[in-house]
């Protein structure tokens, strides 16, 4: 029986509730945003008692559908001041779905200065005080929690950065190998830290797989869907072979690889940090160039990166992290970047926000550009330990820019701009400006059509067609984020019609309903409108839907292009 689990820290209670009619048929991002919009006062302090932290598996999470194992987390973001949804792989989403938990809502604040953990199992919700694991990094914490229960329970946790409520704090999710995936963006780890929840463990023992209402129809649709993932050259070959970091070289070639705190679109040492170099390094050291971040992932774009001695160093080592520490901070040593990635996962900070922040900090002279060892030291000894400097750096790019008086600060709604320069990849710039999430490439990945030749081609250097492209991709992504699907199914979905139709067929077979393609589009639009209304009520105006001034004043080499959208052009994004 589907249910909502509610944990209230103010009175240390837990409740199991039926799913209200208004939330039936929602999952993932659609559900987290619906809960936040209906229960969180938009003007509340994100780190106060009135904010709520919501976890929700997607509509298809827990089924046999390929790539359906994502979990969403939502709250008011302490970084952007608006609504936030972030999603990740790992094992927790599937386990929540098997337990029938459509959403876990964490609310209130503890009356005393004590920390807690939550344990979810079949017909049992336990909230208990936690002392032993306070201060632990995520790697050791996952090991300790799974040892405590004697089995590979699902783990959702925060590291020291979340405990200290820094704005870069993320939430970690254990993957099938007990390594770390991240609900990365928007400072949701600080919200969990404000609730004083160190970790949530999930035991799905004794629960059956999620069974579709029409098993035969589901099985046939799932077969067609899986075939489209295999047939598309990006999801079937490109991503499994090289992972996401293959993008370094193509963004560099296109002149859209932000370098040295967004002062150039090309990085001289791009090949030293590229996906091709990383692939060869992983293979030579006995790592895994291909790896699934959650059970049932067919694309397997993740990897395991070993150190020079062949020992595990990190996994889920993604393009945006490598771009940020690499090109943006001019660190040309993949091992230094991998060590930084490992530490960021362990102390629990968003690797995009942190990398963008270091680019700003380097411009401010806090440390030199290219100082990989310095970054590693500051992550461990300053941010990880919460020194005064560490708390400044742990506040993210916008905070560091303000503290040091820097004007070239690449953020929208205070959130760091990821790995594609909006002057040279204009479609993604529209997404950065207009997304309800702040600067977030995943909310409308126009790079696919601007750079990668997926879903046609829209010239990345021209304004023509970019607002419409970004709008349509943001709508589609809001719907995909609600299904529990990995966003990378968008590559086949943009080119192979059967991908989307079989996805809808799976949802219909799972729930015994009859959605059309238009219904799915309407869901995406509804999610965006709900989120936008929350943001407006929270005080985020049209003027917040803009890129920083320097993008329209400083021409980006090699194309020497500026950001040149007018406010009216950007505002037309909301004409739907």
């Amino acid at each position: 029986m589907d249910k909502i689990v509610r944990i209230n820290l103010s009175d240390l209670s837990s409740k199991i509730e039926p799913v209200p009619a208004a939330w039936v048929g929602l999952g993932g991002r659609a559900l987290t945003s619906a809960v936040v919009a209906s229960e969180v006062p938009p003007a509340c302090h994100a780190l106060g008692a009135n904010n709520k932290l919501v976890f929700a598996p997607g509509l298809l999470t827990g089924t046999a559908a390929a790539n359906s194992g994502r979990i969403s987390a939502g709250a008011k973001s302490p970084l952007t001041g608006g609504i936030k949804e972030s999603n990740a792989g790992g094992t927790a989403g599937r386990m929540l779905a098997k337990l029938g938990i459509r959403a876990l809502i964490v609310e209130g604040m503890p009356p005393e200065d004590k920390w807690y953990s939550v344990h979810l199992a079949k017909d049992a919700v336990t909230l208990q005080e936690e002392q032993e694991l306070l201060g632990q990094g995520n790697y050791a914490l996952v090991q300790a929690v799974q040892a405590r229960y004697g089995k590979p329970v699902g783990v959702i946790s925060i590291g020291p950065v979340g405990e200290m409520k820094m704005l870069t704090a993320n939430i970690s999710v254990a993957d099938p190998e007990s390594h770390i995936r991240s609900l990365g963006r928007g400072g949701l780890g600080a919200v969990m830290g404000a609730k004083k929840i160190k970790f949530i463990s999930i035991d799905d023992t004794g629960t059956p797989p999620v069974m579709p209402k029409d098993a035969a129809k589901f099985k046939e649709a799932a077969r067609i869907f899986a075939k489209t993932l295999l047939d598309h050259p990006v999801s079937g070959q490109g991503l499994p072979t090289y992972g996401t970091n293959v993008l370094v070289n193509i963004l560099n070639e296109a002149g859209g690889l932000p370098t040295r705190n967004f002062t150039s679109g090309q990085y001289a040492d791009h090949d030293k940090i590229s996906g091709e170099t990383m692939h060869d390094t992983i293979v030579a050291r006995g790592g895994q160039p291909t790896h699934a971040c959650h059970p049932g992932c067919q694309i397997q774009c993740s990897q395991v990166y070993n150190d020079k001695d062949g020992k595990y160093l990190t996994s889920g080592f993604e393009y945006e992290t490598i771009w940020g520490m690499g090109a943006d901070c001019c660190i040309n040593d993949l091992d230094d970047i991998a060590m930084a990635d490992r530490i960021m996962d362990d102390i629990g900070c968003d690797s995009i926000e942190t990398a963008v922040m270091f680019g700003v900090a380097m411009e401010a002279g806090v440390l030199p550009f290219g100082d990989g060892k310095g970054v590693v030291r500051m992550l461990k000894d300053e941010i990880g330990r919460g020194t005064t400097l560490g708390r400044i750096l742990g506040g993210g790019a916008a905070q560091v820019g303000r503290v040091y008086g820097i004007t070239r600060v690449p953020v929208v709604k205070n959130q760091g701009i990821p790995a594609y320069d909006p002057r040279a990849v204009k479609g993604i710039g529209v997404t950065y400006a207009m997304s309800t999430m702040g600067a977030d490439h995943t909310s409308g990945y126009a790079v696919a059509t601007n750079i990668l030749g997926v879903g046609g081609h829209v010239d990345p250097l021209s304004k023509v067609g970019q607002v419409e492209l970004a709008r349509n991709l943001n709508i589609a992504t809001a719907a995909i984020d609600s299904t529990g699907m990995c966003l990378f199914i968008a590559f086949p979905a943009l080119d192979i019609p059967e991908c989307l139709s079989s996805l809808i067929d799976m949802i219909n077979a799972c729930f015994g309903i009859n959605l059309s393609g238009d219904d799915v589009t309407a869901l995406g639009k509804s999610v965006l409108k709900t989120e936008h209304a929350f943001n407006v009520a929270a005080g985020l105006t049209k003027e917040h839907d803009r890129l920083p001034e320097f993008f329209s004043k400083e021409a980006l080499p090699p194309h020497n292009v500026l950001w040149d959208f007018t406010p009216d052009e950007l505002d037309s994004y909301w004409n739907f």
Binding site: H232, G238, N245, L247, I250, E253, A254, G275, Y445
Partner: protein, 83 residues
Amino acid sequence: MKIKLKLYATLRDYLPAESGGKEAMLELPDAATIPDALAALAVPVGLAHIVMINCRHVLRADVAGRRLMDGDQLAVFPAIGGG
């Protein structure tokens, strides 16, 4: 004319051993096209999913007939993605 052909990802397998594994300088007849350059290293045109000349995309429909100029940098990628 001389052009520089840069190959990426799996296409690097087509580069000659002495090239260093990333790019090759090609001597081509005047009026050579993109397929002519690819043929010089036996790269199947069908694998050229993304093509750029001097950092600008060439539309897929234009690849077959697009003439190269002396000094051009031709970059060719198979189907790749990320994000």
